[in-house]
Amino acid sequence: MTRVLLFGRLSDVAGWRERAIDPPPDTLAALRELLRLEAPELGRALEGPGIQAAVDRALVLGDVTLSPGAEVAFLPPMSGG
């Protein structure tokens, strides 16, 4: 089972903030494809400028392998303070 978290405007686009996906995809690219097929608008938003991905709470660049219990978060440009 892969846990997927959306932050900021991404959760507004998707209509959810957190989801479990089972069976778990093997790679980040496979997860993106799965989300895109189900909801094209979210798929596009995830590819948008400044969106970062974190796997098990570490930022990743490009594609990576996902362990079966991975936590994947998609992060829009950060804006605190």
Partner: protein, 149 residues
Amino acid sequence: MIELVEHPFDAGHALNAFLARRSETGAVASFVGLARSEGGWTIALELEAYAEFTHAGIAAFAAAATERFKLQDIHIIHRLGAIPPGDAIVLVLTAATHRREALDGCDFLVDHLKSRAALWKKDHGRAGARWIEPTGRDLADAARWEAAS
């Protein structure tokens, strides 16, 4: 110390606690960011975080600031959830032997919190809600610490 809190916090109390028992500190700088009303248009700001990930990210640049500006101590409080106009969003406190280090360390931390901490800010206004993204100035302010290092 880094705190992410879901409730209003007392900045003056935090400042006094930070000032206590500092016989070798010459300078304490602080910054408070507040939610603005924008002439009544903003009803509340909403701040979202990614819990431990956010905390760890802030701790990483706090450690960088400590090293770079030779800070004796840092205290950061960032509020999460719905924040009405006039309330404090964030407090940054730095302690150093001399004023330049305390002021520059505070400035560095504020710039990094603005565009490099895992926080997302939504403006709930009379005209609807919108997510706020960092401005060009926010990004340039954070980048100036790289150019200068």
